[in-house]
């Protein structure tokens, strides 16, 4: 259903990118005020805003104008788009998409080839300075040929599309921090959007993939307030990434009590104990999984018995192993210690030989002390 909406909106010629407010648009679709309030309450919840802000959100949404959205996909797996389109296929959320004009998304749009690129160019031109640019995937810098669209390198397409954007939403860990393409040894020289675009506000929505509600929540926020939300030090909206998984995890009491699953099939695992020892990256991962959850709020990885892999953090792929507890060294220390000890033992014996030589020498030059030797001359 949402796909239909997207496909419909994929053609800028048919849409009305900036005409009318959201309120007008909804009323024209016969949406009642009561339905709108339900929509606002859900939107507030989605944006992790306190319910007391619902009236304000209602007012803002009422008067919001539909922005044009251009979605670029670079070195990615389409997981982010999948996540988004597999989200609650609900009327409520589709309203968010109703509220935007998705003018280019080459995976979702019906048009292809030159027609698609033409659509992008038109949207950019018509809404210059006002459109929202959404990017998923990383950008290869080694050889532009690693990833091109219609013969245009990712780098060129990004810099060109960014010029007229009001703001950029980097979706997924690839676009935000380089993600898996960036993982050691990074064969394509993949970088993030932020590494290239320096003069535009960028909202990072990391995750592999990001929680769909978080993606729509960020769009809703932009839609509602016409501005980018408050970001943390690595560009993530604080409302969704303000707290670590560990701090919000329902299994936290087990951590505090020292009750851990040691293997995936032991008593601890069955009792739902903390997965820290199985490599859970919850303590160093900031995301909304523990509260927002996945699959229509059904569950999230830890609830399903798997440790958090830290996918919304930069370089999560190179974090020393998903199943290695955070406090563990990433390399084999015992071997290092044994080699160091062995080498040092040899060195120690050598140093001691010098010491003993010195003592022997001092004994050798010692001349028996007599009572005549007790005063200096």
């Amino acid at each position: 259903m949402k796909k239909d909406l997207l496909l419909k909106d994929g053609n800028p010629q048919q849409g009305n990118p900036l005409g009318g407010t959201l309120g007008e648009s909804l009323r024209s679709q016969g949406v009642s005020r009561r339905s709108f309030m339900k929509f606002c309450a859900t939107t507030a919840s989605m944006m992790a805003l306190p319910p007391s802000m619902i009236p304000m959100i209602a007012n803002a949404l009422e008067n919001a104008r539909r922005p044009s959205v251009i979605w670029l996909s670079f070195q990615e797996c389409t997981g982010c788009t999948e996540s988004l389109t597999r989200a609650h296929t609900s009327t409520v959320e589709s309203l968010i998409f109703d509220a935007i004009s998705l003018d280019y998304h080459h995976t979702l749009q019906a048009a292809s080839g030159h027609a698609a690129e033409a659509a992008r160019e038109v949207a950019m031109e018509e809404n210059f300075g006002n459109y929202l640019l959404v990017v998923d995937g990383s950008i290869p810098l080694d050889n532009p040929g690693y990833s091109t669209i219609a013969g245009i390198s990712n780098l060129d397409m990004l810099t060109e599309s960014a010029k007229g954007a009001a703001a950029i939403v980097a979706v997924g860990t690839c676009a935000t921090y380089g993600g898996i393409p960036h993982a050691n040894p990074n064969p394509t020289g993949a970088v993030s959007v932020k590494d290239i675009i320096k003069d535009k506000p960028i909202i990072n929505v990391p995750g592999c993939p990001p929680i769909p509600v978080v993606i729509t929540g960020v769009l809703a926020h932009y839609l509602t307030f016409g501005a980018i939300p408050e970001l943390d030090h690595i560009g993530r909206p604080k409302v969704f990434y303000g707290q670590s998984i560990h701090d919000r995890c329902y299994r936290r009491p087990f951590y505090d009590k020292g009750q851990f699953a040691e293997t995936f099939d032991d008593e601890g695992a069955k009792k739902g104990w903390c997965l820290y020892k199985l490599g859970c990256k919850g303590p160093t991962t900031y995301n909304a999984c523990a509260t927002t959850k996945w699959n229509n709020g059904t569950s999230f990885p830890i609830e399903s018995g798997h440790p958090c892999i830290g996918c919304s953090e930069p370089d999560f792929w190179d974090g020393g192993g998903f199943y290695k507890a955070l406090s563990l060294p990433t390399e084999d220390l015992s071997k290092t210690a044994v080699y160091a000890a062995a080498g040092a033992a040899a060195a120690g014996v050598a140093v001691s030989a010098l010491n003993r030589g010195k003592k022997n020498a001092s004994n050798k030059i010692h001349i028996k002390t007599t009572i005549d030797d007790l005063t200096q001359e």
Binding site: R33, R34, A41, V92, T298
Partner: protein, 138 residues
Amino acid sequence: MSSVGITQFNIQMGDELTQNVQPLLHEIRHALAALLESGKASIIDLRSIPLAPGEEEAIIEALGKGEINARLEALGPSDIYETRFAGVWLTSHYNEDHVVVSRFIEITELPAILRSQREDMAGALETLNEELQKQATS
């Protein structure tokens, strides 16, 4: 947040997992006292609380059901009922697939969404006028 009876993988429920229930009930008690005293209504978004599997159900069970139960059909159904504690309402919004999209505990005399809305009433008046006119002309 699941209310569709998904079996929890591996989890055996224990007392230690429902530690959010008590504090939440206390929060509701404070809100109810404030409502009585100053008429100040409040809303708790259940989605903003990290709940363990089964905790939401435990809270709903603890609140029980009261006298009023309303069903709303707007962008999918919504269930709104007063719990066994007067002034404490539970609002559950579903999408068209009957999946909960948001759920609130409202401490108020009447949840705002139940009232007839001015815009809707204006629309209704217009519709009624139109229909009467139509009858008159026909």
